[in-house]
Amino acid sequence: MIRDITIGQYYPAASKIHMLDPRVKIICTLLYLISLFTFKNLAGYVFAAVFLAVCVRLAKVPFKYIMRGLKPIIVLLLITVLFNLFLTPGGEILFTFWRFKVTEQGLRTAVYMTIRLIFLITGASLMTLTTTPNALTDGLEKMLNPLNRIKVPVHEISMIMSIALRFIPILLEETDKIMKAQTARGADLESGNIIQKAKAMVPILVPLFVSAFRRANDLAMAMEARCYRGGAGRTKMKPLIYNRRDYIAYAVMAVYMIAAFSAGRYLPFHVWIF
Protein backbone atom coordinates (compact mmCIF):
# COMPACT_ATOMS: atom_id res chain seq x y z
CA MET A 1 0.00 0.00 0.00
CA ILE A 2 2.69 2.39 1.11
CA ARG A 3 4.83 1.64 -1.95
CA ASP A 4 2.28 3.14 -4.32
CA ILE A 5 3.42 6.60 -3.34
CA THR A 6 5.67 7.91 -6.06
CA ILE A 7 7.34 11.25 -5.78
CA GLY A 8 8.69 13.02 -8.80
CA GLN A 9 6.88 10.39 -10.84
CA TYR A 10 9.27 10.01 -13.73
CA TYR A 11 8.05 8.28 -16.86
CA PRO A 12 11.06 6.84 -18.70
CA ALA A 13 10.94 7.16 -22.47
CA ALA A 14 13.31 8.14 -25.25
CA SER A 15 11.69 11.33 -26.48
CA LYS A 16 12.85 14.73 -27.61
CA ILE A 17 11.37 16.30 -24.49
CA HIS A 18 13.15 13.82 -22.20
CA MET A 19 16.48 14.68 -23.78
CA LEU A 20 16.20 18.42 -23.15
CA ASP A 21 18.34 20.08 -20.53
CA PRO A 22 16.43 20.27 -17.21
CA ARG A 23 16.93 24.03 -17.11
CA VAL A 24 15.12 24.41 -20.44
CA LYS A 25 12.18 22.42 -19.11
CA ILE A 26 11.99 24.36 -15.85
CA ILE A 27 12.15 27.76 -17.54
CA CYS A 28 9.73 26.84 -20.32
CA THR A 29 7.23 25.42 -17.84
CA LEU A 30 7.39 28.62 -15.81
CA LEU A 31 6.91 30.74 -18.93
CA TYR A 32 3.99 28.58 -20.01
CA LEU A 33 2.31 28.98 -16.62
CA ILE A 34 2.75 32.74 -16.83
CA SER A 35 1.35 32.83 -20.34
CA LEU A 36 -1.85 31.16 -19.09
CA PHE A 37 -2.60 34.15 -16.90
CA THR A 38 -2.21 36.79 -19.58
CA PHE A 39 -5.06 35.66 -21.80
CA LYS A 40 -8.18 37.76 -22.07
CA ASN A 41 -10.08 35.75 -24.67
CA LEU A 42 -10.64 32.20 -25.88
CA ALA A 43 -8.08 32.42 -28.68
CA GLY A 44 -5.20 32.39 -26.21
CA TYR A 45 -6.50 29.26 -24.54
CA VAL A 46 -6.96 27.49 -27.84
CA PHE A 47 -3.38 28.37 -28.66
CA ALA A 48 -2.14 27.11 -25.28
CA ALA A 49 -4.09 23.87 -25.67
CA VAL A 50 -2.57 23.15 -29.06
CA PHE A 51 0.91 23.88 -27.77
CA LEU A 52 0.42 21.61 -24.76
CA ALA A 53 -1.01 18.80 -26.90
CA VAL A 54 2.02 18.96 -29.21
CA CYS A 55 4.37 18.81 -26.22
CA VAL A 56 2.58 15.81 -24.69
CA ARG A 57 2.70 14.09 -28.06
CA LEU A 58 6.43 14.78 -28.41
CA ALA A 59 7.11 13.52 -24.88
CA LYS A 60 5.58 10.11 -25.67
CA VAL A 61 3.90 10.05 -22.26
CA PRO A 62 0.61 8.11 -22.29
CA PHE A 63 -2.46 10.28 -21.84
CA LYS A 64 -3.65 8.35 -18.76
CA TYR A 65 -0.42 9.22 -16.91
CA ILE A 66 -1.20 12.87 -17.39
CA MET A 67 -4.81 12.42 -16.31
CA ARG A 68 -3.57 10.74 -13.15
CA GLY A 69 -1.88 13.98 -12.18
CA LEU A 70 -5.24 15.77 -12.38
CA LYS A 71 -7.00 13.50 -9.90
CA PRO A 72 -5.73 15.12 -6.70
CA ILE A 73 -6.92 18.56 -7.80
CA ILE A 74 -10.50 17.63 -8.66
CA VAL A 75 -11.79 18.87 -5.30
CA LEU A 76 -9.85 22.10 -5.59
CA LEU A 77 -11.17 22.50 -9.11
CA LEU A 78 -14.79 22.03 -8.02
CA ILE A 79 -14.51 24.54 -5.20
CA THR A 80 -12.92 27.10 -7.52
CA VAL A 81 -15.64 26.62 -10.11
CA LEU A 82 -18.51 26.87 -7.60
CA PHE A 83 -17.20 29.98 -5.91
CA ASN A 84 -16.44 31.74 -9.15
CA LEU A 85 -19.70 30.72 -10.73
CA PHE A 86 -22.00 31.89 -7.97
CA LEU A 87 -20.15 34.70 -6.27
CA THR A 88 -18.74 36.81 -9.09
CA PRO A 89 -20.79 39.93 -9.73
CA GLY A 90 -20.81 41.79 -13.03
CA GLY A 91 -22.48 41.57 -16.38
CA GLU A 92 -25.87 40.29 -17.31
CA ILE A 93 -27.56 37.76 -15.00
CA LEU A 94 -27.84 34.50 -16.89
CA PHE A 95 -29.96 32.53 -14.44
CA THR A 96 -30.84 32.41 -10.77
CA PHE A 97 -30.46 29.36 -8.67
CA TRP A 98 -32.20 29.66 -5.27
CA ARG A 99 -30.36 32.59 -3.70
CA PHE A 100 -27.39 32.59 -6.04
CA LYS A 101 -27.18 34.48 -9.25
CA VAL A 102 -25.00 33.27 -12.05
CA THR A 103 -23.69 36.23 -13.96
CA GLU A 104 -22.05 36.41 -17.32
CA GLN A 105 -18.79 37.44 -15.69
CA GLY A 106 -19.07 34.58 -13.18
CA LEU A 107 -19.51 31.94 -15.86
CA ARG A 108 -16.60 33.37 -17.81
CA THR A 109 -14.25 33.40 -14.83
CA ALA A 110 -15.27 29.89 -13.80
CA VAL A 111 -14.58 28.46 -17.23
CA TYR A 112 -11.29 30.31 -17.66
CA MET A 113 -10.15 29.31 -14.19
CA THR A 114 -10.90 25.64 -14.86
CA ILE A 115 -9.00 25.68 -18.11
CA ARG A 116 -6.10 27.49 -16.48
CA LEU A 117 -5.82 25.06 -13.58
CA ILE A 118 -6.02 22.00 -15.81
CA PHE A 119 -3.37 23.34 -18.20
CA LEU A 120 -1.21 24.45 -15.29
CA ILE A 121 -1.19 21.01 -13.66
CA THR A 122 -0.76 19.24 -16.98
CA GLY A 123 2.16 21.46 -17.91
CA ALA A 124 3.88 21.03 -14.56
CA SER A 125 3.39 17.28 -14.48
CA LEU A 126 4.70 17.02 -18.01
CA MET A 127 7.92 18.49 -16.66
CA THR A 128 8.21 16.04 -13.73
CA LEU A 129 7.20 13.10 -15.90
CA THR A 130 9.97 13.76 -18.40
CA THR A 131 12.79 14.77 -16.04
CA THR A 132 14.46 12.54 -13.45
CA PRO A 133 14.37 14.02 -9.94
CA ASN A 134 18.15 14.21 -9.96
CA ALA A 135 18.23 16.13 -13.22
CA LEU A 136 15.66 18.51 -11.74
CA THR A 137 17.78 19.21 -8.66
CA ASP A 138 20.85 19.62 -10.86
CA GLY A 139 18.99 22.07 -13.05
CA LEU A 140 17.74 24.04 -10.08
CA GLU A 141 21.20 24.14 -8.56
CA LYS A 142 22.69 25.55 -11.72
CA MET A 143 19.88 28.07 -12.20
CA LEU A 144 19.99 29.31 -8.63
CA ASN A 145 23.78 29.57 -8.62
CA PRO A 146 23.78 33.40 -8.71
CA LEU A 147 22.04 33.32 -5.32
CA ASN A 148 25.31 31.99 -3.90
CA ARG A 149 26.53 35.56 -3.90
CA ILE A 150 23.92 36.54 -1.35
CA LYS A 151 24.95 33.58 0.80
CA VAL A 152 22.15 31.20 -0.12
CA PRO A 153 23.63 27.69 0.22
CA VAL A 154 22.40 26.56 -3.21
CA HIS A 155 24.68 23.54 -3.51
CA GLU A 156 23.77 22.29 -0.05
CA ILE A 157 20.05 22.64 -0.69
CA SER A 158 20.28 20.66 -3.89
CA MET A 159 22.43 18.02 -2.18
CA ILE A 160 19.82 17.70 0.58
CA MET A 161 17.09 17.32 -2.03
CA SER A 162 18.87 14.61 -3.99
CA ILE A 163 19.77 12.65 -0.84
CA ALA A 164 16.17 12.90 0.34
CA LEU A 165 15.03 11.49 -2.99
CA ARG A 166 17.50 8.63 -2.74
CA PHE A 167 16.31 7.70 0.74
CA ILE A 168 12.57 7.83 0.11
CA PRO A 169 12.34 4.21 -1.11
CA ILE A 170 14.67 3.00 1.64
CA LEU A 171 12.63 4.65 4.37
CA LEU A 172 9.36 3.43 2.84
CA GLU A 173 10.68 -0.11 2.91
CA GLU A 174 11.74 0.39 6.49
CA THR A 175 8.31 1.71 7.47
CA ASP A 176 6.80 -1.40 5.94
CA LYS A 177 9.18 -3.59 7.94
CA ILE A 178 8.50 -1.77 11.22
CA MET A 179 4.75 -1.98 10.65
CA LYS A 180 4.99 -5.70 10.13
CA ALA A 181 7.24 -6.11 13.14
CA GLN A 182 4.87 -4.14 15.37
CA THR A 183 1.83 -6.00 14.04
CA ALA A 184 3.61 -9.26 14.83
CA ARG A 185 4.02 -7.98 18.38
CA GLY A 186 0.29 -7.35 18.65
CA ALA A 187 0.05 -3.68 17.64
CA ASP A 188 -3.38 -2.82 16.26
CA LEU A 189 -2.99 -0.35 13.41
CA GLU A 190 -6.32 -0.73 11.66
CA SER A 191 -9.21 -0.33 14.09
CA GLY A 192 -10.42 2.57 16.22
CA ASN A 193 -11.23 6.19 15.53
CA ILE A 194 -8.83 8.78 14.19
CA ILE A 195 -7.28 9.57 17.57
CA GLN A 196 -6.69 5.92 18.36
CA LYS A 197 -5.21 5.38 14.94
CA ALA A 198 -2.89 8.35 15.41
CA LYS A 199 -1.80 6.94 18.75
CA ALA A 200 -1.12 3.59 17.13
CA MET A 201 1.34 5.34 14.79
CA VAL A 202 3.68 6.23 17.67
CA PRO A 203 5.33 2.78 17.90
CA ILE A 204 6.00 3.03 14.16
CA LEU A 205 7.26 6.60 14.02
CA VAL A 206 9.66 6.36 16.97
CA PRO A 207 11.78 3.52 15.57
CA LEU A 208 11.56 5.07 12.11
CA PHE A 209 12.98 8.36 13.36
CA VAL A 210 15.68 6.66 15.39
CA SER A 211 16.77 4.71 12.37
CA ALA A 212 16.60 7.76 10.10
CA PHE A 213 18.95 9.64 12.42
CA ARG A 214 21.32 6.70 12.53
CA ARG A 215 21.32 6.54 8.73
CA ALA A 216 21.94 10.27 8.49
CA ASN A 217 24.90 9.94 10.81
CA ASP A 218 26.35 7.01 8.86
CA LEU A 219 25.83 8.76 5.56
CA ALA A 220 27.51 11.94 6.76
CA MET A 221 30.51 9.89 7.84
CA ALA A 222 30.63 8.04 4.52
CA MET A 223 30.46 11.35 2.62
CA GLU A 224 33.28 12.84 4.65
CA ALA A 225 35.33 9.70 4.19
CA ARG A 226 34.98 10.30 0.45
CA CYS A 227 36.31 13.83 0.81
CA TYR A 228 33.00 15.67 0.59
CA ARG A 229 33.53 19.24 1.80
CA GLY A 230 30.73 21.24 0.26
CA GLY A 231 30.33 22.68 -3.21
CA ALA A 232 33.57 24.65 -3.46
CA GLY A 233 36.23 23.06 -5.67
CA ARG A 234 33.89 20.30 -6.76
CA THR A 235 33.74 19.15 -10.36
CA LYS A 236 30.78 17.47 -12.03
CA MET A 237 30.60 14.04 -13.57
CA LYS A 238 27.62 15.09 -15.66
CA PRO A 239 27.83 18.86 -16.10
CA LEU A 240 24.84 20.59 -17.65
CA ILE A 241 25.74 21.93 -21.09
CA TYR A 242 23.26 23.43 -23.51
CA ASN A 243 22.97 21.58 -26.82
CA ARG A 244 21.58 22.68 -30.14
CA ARG A 245 18.21 21.14 -29.30
CA ASP A 246 18.05 23.21 -26.12
CA TYR A 247 18.49 26.44 -28.05
CA ILE A 248 15.84 25.30 -30.51
CA ALA A 249 13.49 24.64 -27.60
CA TYR A 250 14.10 28.13 -26.25
CA ALA A 251 13.42 29.59 -29.70
CA VAL A 252 10.16 27.64 -30.03
CA MET A 253 9.15 28.80 -26.57
CA ALA A 254 9.85 32.43 -27.46
CA VAL A 255 7.74 32.16 -30.60
CA TYR A 256 4.94 30.58 -28.58
CA MET A 257 5.10 33.30 -25.93
CA ILE A 258 4.84 36.11 -28.46
CA ALA A 259 2.13 34.42 -30.49
CA ALA A 260 0.06 33.30 -27.51
CA PHE A 261 0.34 36.65 -25.77
CA SER A 262 -0.78 38.66 -28.76
CA ALA A 263 -3.49 36.17 -29.70
CA GLY A 264 -4.80 36.01 -26.15
CA ARG A 265 -5.07 39.78 -25.93
CA TYR A 266 -5.83 41.16 -29.33
CA LEU A 267 -7.24 38.44 -31.58
CA PRO A 268 -10.93 39.15 -32.04
CA PHE A 269 -12.06 35.58 -31.57
CA HIS A 270 -15.22 35.17 -29.50
CA VAL A 271 -17.68 32.38 -28.93
CA TRP A 272 -20.87 33.55 -27.20
CA ILE A 273 -19.69 35.33 -24.04
CA PHE A 274 -16.13 33.96 -24.04
Binding site: N134, E224, A225, R226
Partner: protein, 281 residues
Protein backbone atom coordinates in the same frame (compact mmCIF):
# COMPACT_ATOMS: atom_id res chain seq x y z
CA UNK B 1 58.00 4.18 4.61
CA UNK B 2 55.01 2.62 6.33
CA UNK B 3 51.57 3.00 4.81
CA UNK B 4 49.98 3.21 8.22
CA UNK B 5 51.78 3.66 11.47
CA UNK B 6 50.34 4.06 14.94
CA UNK B 7 52.39 4.92 17.97
CA UNK B 8 50.90 4.31 21.42
CA UNK B 9 47.52 5.35 20.04
CA UNK B 10 44.87 5.97 22.68
CA UNK B 11 41.28 6.92 22.03
CA UNK B 12 38.73 7.69 24.72
CA UNK B 13 35.01 8.16 24.29
CA UNK B 14 33.66 10.80 26.63
CA UNK B 15 30.26 10.70 28.19
CA UNK B 16 28.96 14.14 29.03
CA UNK B 17 26.06 15.36 31.14
CA UNK B 18 23.67 18.09 30.01
CA UNK B 19 26.04 20.92 30.92
CA UNK B 20 28.76 19.32 28.84
CA UNK B 21 30.90 18.21 31.76
CA UNK B 22 32.66 14.92 31.29
CA UNK B 23 31.08 12.29 33.54
CA UNK B 24 33.11 9.33 32.50
CA UNK B 25 35.51 8.25 29.81
CA UNK B 26 35.88 4.85 28.33
CA UNK B 27 39.01 3.83 26.53
CA UNK B 28 38.15 2.21 23.21
CA UNK B 29 41.71 1.93 21.94
CA UNK B 30 44.55 1.60 24.40
CA UNK B 31 48.21 2.09 23.48
CA UNK B 32 48.09 0.43 20.10
CA UNK B 33 51.21 0.27 17.93
CA UNK B 34 50.86 -0.56 14.25
CA UNK B 35 53.24 -0.84 11.31
CA UNK B 36 51.58 -1.57 8.01
CA UNK B 37 53.68 -1.68 4.86
CA UNK B 38 52.48 -0.78 1.36
CA UNK B 39 50.90 -3.73 -0.42
CA UNK B 40 50.14 -5.67 2.77
CA UNK B 41 46.85 -7.42 3.43
CA UNK B 42 46.18 -6.96 7.10
CA UNK B 43 43.20 -8.39 8.94
CA UNK B 44 42.06 -7.01 12.25
CA UNK B 45 39.94 -9.42 14.23
CA UNK B 46 38.00 -8.83 17.37
CA UNK B 47 34.71 -9.34 19.09
CA UNK B 48 32.12 -6.56 19.42
CA UNK B 49 33.47 -3.72 21.51
CA UNK B 50 37.08 -4.73 21.02
CA UNK B 51 37.93 -1.32 19.55
CA UNK B 52 38.61 -2.55 16.02
CA UNK B 53 36.18 -0.18 14.30
CA UNK B 54 37.38 2.75 16.38
CA UNK B 55 40.91 1.96 15.28
CA UNK B 56 39.76 1.77 11.65
CA UNK B 57 38.18 5.21 11.85
CA UNK B 58 41.57 6.61 12.85
CA UNK B 59 43.04 5.43 9.56
CA UNK B 60 40.70 7.75 7.67
CA UNK B 61 41.02 10.67 10.10
CA UNK B 62 37.34 10.41 10.99
CA UNK B 63 38.58 10.13 14.55
CA UNK B 64 41.81 11.59 15.85
CA UNK B 65 43.78 10.06 18.71
CA UNK B 66 43.20 11.30 22.26
CA UNK B 67 46.85 10.54 22.90
CA UNK B 68 49.67 9.03 20.90
CA UNK B 69 49.68 9.40 17.14
CA UNK B 70 48.63 7.92 13.82
CA UNK B 71 50.38 8.46 10.49
CA UNK B 72 48.84 7.56 7.16
CA UNK B 73 51.21 7.62 4.20
CA UNK B 74 53.64 9.60 6.32
CA UNK B 75 51.08 12.25 7.32
CA UNK B 76 49.97 12.88 10.87
CA UNK B 77 46.16 12.50 11.08
CA UNK B 78 45.82 15.05 13.87
CA UNK B 79 47.03 17.85 11.58
CA UNK B 80 44.01 19.57 10.04
CA UNK B 81 45.79 20.43 6.79
CA UNK B 82 46.42 16.77 5.92
CA UNK B 83 42.92 15.52 6.49
CA UNK B 84 41.79 15.49 2.82
CA UNK B 85 45.03 13.97 1.56
CA UNK B 86 44.68 11.23 4.13
CA UNK B 87 41.08 10.54 3.20
CA UNK B 88 42.05 10.33 -0.44
CA UNK B 89 44.95 7.96 0.14
CA UNK B 90 43.14 5.73 2.65
CA UNK B 91 39.64 5.02 1.38
CA UNK B 92 37.08 3.53 3.69
CA UNK B 93 34.20 1.09 3.13
CA UNK B 94 31.62 0.85 5.88
CA UNK B 95 29.36 -1.84 7.23
CA UNK B 96 25.91 -0.78 6.06
CA UNK B 97 25.68 -0.86 2.26
CA UNK B 98 22.62 1.42 2.11
CA UNK B 99 24.03 4.17 4.27
CA UNK B 100 27.12 4.85 2.19
CA UNK B 101 25.67 5.13 -1.30
CA UNK B 102 24.91 8.77 -2.00
CA UNK B 103 23.60 8.99 -5.54
CA UNK B 104 20.52 7.44 -7.12
CA UNK B 105 22.43 5.88 -10.02
CA UNK B 106 25.36 3.48 -9.61
CA UNK B 107 27.78 5.35 -11.88
CA UNK B 108 27.01 8.70 -10.28
CA UNK B 109 27.75 7.27 -6.87
CA UNK B 110 31.13 5.99 -8.01
CA UNK B 111 31.80 9.46 -9.44
CA UNK B 112 31.02 11.15 -6.12
CA UNK B 113 34.54 10.76 -4.69
CA UNK B 114 36.38 12.08 -7.77
CA UNK B 115 33.87 14.97 -8.02
CA UNK B 116 34.78 15.97 -4.48
CA UNK B 117 38.47 15.83 -5.34
CA UNK B 118 37.93 18.21 -8.26
CA UNK B 119 38.93 15.73 -10.95
CA UNK B 120 38.11 16.98 -14.51
CA UNK B 121 34.93 15.56 -16.05
CA UNK B 122 36.52 13.30 -18.70
CA UNK B 123 38.82 11.75 -16.13
CA UNK B 124 35.90 11.10 -13.77
CA UNK B 125 34.27 9.03 -16.52
CA UNK B 126 37.49 7.07 -17.07
CA UNK B 127 37.89 6.40 -13.38
CA UNK B 128 34.26 5.39 -12.92
CA UNK B 129 34.46 2.94 -15.77
CA UNK B 130 37.73 1.47 -14.58
CA UNK B 131 36.58 1.10 -10.97
CA UNK B 132 33.26 -0.47 -11.88
CA UNK B 133 35.08 -2.87 -14.17
CA UNK B 134 37.51 -3.96 -11.49
CA UNK B 135 34.70 -4.93 -9.08
CA UNK B 136 32.69 -6.52 -11.89
CA UNK B 137 29.76 -4.11 -11.70
CA UNK B 138 30.13 -2.36 -15.05
CA UNK B 139 26.91 -3.86 -16.43
CA UNK B 140 24.96 -2.25 -13.58
CA UNK B 141 26.23 1.26 -14.17
CA UNK B 142 22.83 2.76 -15.04
CA UNK B 143 20.92 0.90 -12.33
CA UNK B 144 19.46 2.35 -9.17
CA UNK B 145 21.35 1.15 -6.08
CA UNK B 146 18.02 0.30 -4.44
CA UNK B 147 17.55 -2.56 -6.87
CA UNK B 148 20.90 -4.23 -6.11
CA UNK B 149 21.65 -7.00 -3.62
CA UNK B 150 23.70 -6.30 -0.49
CA UNK B 151 26.85 -7.81 -1.97
CA UNK B 152 26.45 -5.76 -5.14
CA UNK B 153 25.91 -2.55 -3.18
CA UNK B 154 29.05 -3.24 -1.19
CA UNK B 155 30.98 -3.76 -4.44
CA UNK B 156 29.66 -0.43 -5.69
CA UNK B 157 30.89 1.13 -2.45
CA UNK B 158 34.33 -0.40 -3.03
CA UNK B 159 34.32 0.97 -6.60
CA UNK B 160 33.41 4.38 -5.16
CA UNK B 161 36.54 4.27 -3.02
CA UNK B 162 38.71 2.92 -5.85
CA UNK B 163 37.71 5.81 -8.10
CA UNK B 164 39.55 8.10 -5.70
CA UNK B 165 42.75 6.15 -6.52
CA UNK B 166 43.70 5.37 -2.93
CA UNK B 167 46.93 3.70 -1.85
CA UNK B 168 45.15 1.85 0.87
CA UNK B 169 41.61 0.68 1.44
CA UNK B 170 40.14 0.10 4.89
CA UNK B 171 37.10 -2.16 5.03
CA UNK B 172 35.22 -1.85 8.30
CA UNK B 173 33.20 -5.06 8.62
CA UNK B 174 32.07 -4.91 4.99
CA UNK B 175 30.37 -8.30 5.16
CA UNK B 176 28.64 -8.05 8.53
CA UNK B 177 25.23 -7.32 7.03
CA UNK B 178 25.45 -9.64 4.03
CA UNK B 179 24.27 -13.16 3.33
CA UNK B 180 26.89 -15.88 2.63
CA UNK B 181 26.75 -15.29 -1.13
CA UNK B 182 27.18 -11.56 -0.74
CA UNK B 183 30.12 -12.16 1.58
CA UNK B 184 31.81 -14.36 -0.99
CA UNK B 185 31.27 -11.76 -3.73
CA UNK B 186 32.78 -8.96 -1.68
CA UNK B 187 35.77 -10.98 -0.49
CA UNK B 188 36.48 -12.11 -4.03
CA UNK B 189 36.52 -8.49 -5.23
CA UNK B 190 38.85 -7.55 -2.38
CA UNK B 191 41.21 -10.43 -3.19
CA UNK B 192 41.28 -9.45 -6.86
CA UNK B 193 42.05 -5.87 -6.00
CA UNK B 194 45.09 -6.90 -4.07
CA UNK B 195 46.43 -9.01 -6.88
CA UNK B 196 45.75 -6.59 -9.72
CA UNK B 197 46.17 -3.16 -8.22
CA UNK B 198 48.60 -3.89 -5.40
CA UNK B 199 46.61 -1.80 -2.96
CA UNK B 200 47.16 -2.11 0.76
CA UNK B 201 44.07 -3.75 2.25
CA UNK B 202 43.00 -3.56 5.86
CA UNK B 203 40.05 -5.82 6.55
CA UNK B 204 38.24 -5.48 9.83
CA UNK B 205 35.96 -8.35 10.67
CA UNK B 206 34.81 -10.82 13.24
CA UNK B 207 34.49 -13.70 10.80
CA UNK B 208 37.65 -15.70 11.09
CA UNK B 209 37.14 -17.49 7.77
CA UNK B 210 37.74 -14.21 6.00
CA UNK B 211 41.26 -13.72 7.29
CA UNK B 212 42.96 -16.92 6.16
CA UNK B 213 44.45 -15.20 3.10
CA UNK B 214 45.82 -12.22 5.00
CA UNK B 215 49.55 -11.59 5.28
CA UNK B 216 49.22 -10.60 8.88
CA UNK B 217 46.46 -10.93 11.45
CA UNK B 218 45.95 -8.68 14.43
CA UNK B 219 43.58 -9.74 17.20
CA UNK B 220 42.13 -7.05 19.43
CA UNK B 221 40.35 -7.28 22.72
CA UNK B 222 39.26 -4.44 25.01
CA UNK B 223 41.23 -1.91 23.03
CA UNK B 224 44.51 -3.79 23.16
CA UNK B 225 46.31 -5.80 20.55
CA UNK B 226 46.41 -9.22 22.14
CA UNK B 227 47.77 -11.43 19.37
CA UNK B 228 49.46 -10.85 16.06
CA UNK B 229 51.18 -12.93 13.44
CA UNK B 230 50.53 -14.84 10.26
CA UNK B 231 47.14 -16.56 10.03
CA UNK B 232 48.86 -19.90 10.67
CA UNK B 233 50.51 -18.67 13.85
CA UNK B 234 47.25 -17.20 15.09
CA UNK B 235 45.09 -20.18 14.24
CA UNK B 236 47.39 -22.62 15.93
CA UNK B 237 46.42 -21.09 19.28
CA UNK B 238 42.84 -22.28 19.36
CA UNK B 239 42.38 -22.06 23.12
CA UNK B 240 43.55 -18.47 23.29
CA UNK B 241 41.28 -17.42 20.40
CA UNK B 242 38.30 -18.91 22.16
CA UNK B 243 39.19 -16.84 25.20
CA UNK B 244 38.69 -13.71 23.07
CA UNK B 245 35.26 -15.01 22.06
CA UNK B 246 36.27 -15.56 18.45
CA UNK B 247 34.87 -18.44 16.45
CA UNK B 248 37.66 -20.53 15.09
CA UNK B 249 36.90 -21.95 11.60
CA UNK B 250 35.49 -25.45 11.71
CA UNK B 251 38.42 -27.07 9.90
CA UNK B 252 40.91 -25.55 12.30
CA UNK B 253 38.81 -26.67 15.23
CA UNK B 254 38.52 -30.22 13.91
CA UNK B 255 42.27 -30.42 13.23
CA UNK B 256 42.96 -29.15 16.71
CA UNK B 257 40.69 -31.76 18.31
CA UNK B 258 42.31 -34.52 16.25
CA UNK B 259 45.76 -33.38 17.29
CA UNK B 260 44.75 -33.39 20.93
CA UNK B 261 43.59 -36.97 20.55
CA UNK B 262 47.03 -37.93 19.36
CA UNK B 263 46.75 -37.78 15.58
CA UNK B 264 49.74 -36.46 13.70
CA UNK B 265 48.20 -33.26 12.32
CA UNK B 266 50.20 -30.00 12.17
CA UNK B 267 48.95 -26.99 14.18
CA UNK B 268 47.25 -24.05 12.48
CA UNK B 269 45.38 -25.73 9.65
CA UNK B 270 43.43 -23.10 7.72
CA UNK B 271 41.73 -24.80 4.81
CA UNK B 272 39.86 -28.00 4.13
CA UNK B 273 42.38 -29.15 1.53
CA UNK B 274 45.23 -28.85 4.00
CA UNK B 275 43.48 -31.09 6.49
CA UNK B 276 42.66 -33.63 3.81
CA UNK B 277 46.30 -33.70 2.72
CA UNK B 278 47.55 -34.00 6.30
CA UNK B 279 45.21 -36.89 7.01
CA UNK B 280 45.86 -38.79 3.77
CA UNK B 281 49.60 -38.59 4.04
Amino acid sequence: MEMIKADKLIFEYEKRDEEGNVISTSRAVDEVDLDIKPGDFIAILGHNGSGKSTLAKHMNAILVPTDGSMWVDGKDTSREEHIWDIRQSAGMVFQNPDNQIIAAVVEEDVGFGPENLGVPTEEIWERVEESLRSVGMISYRHHSPNKLSGGQKQRVAIAGVLAMRPKCIVLDEPTAMLDPNGRKEVLKSVAELRQKENITVILITHYMEEVVDADHVIVMDHGHIVMQGTPREIFSQVEELKRYRLDVPQVTLLADELRKRGLDVPAGILKKEELVNALCR
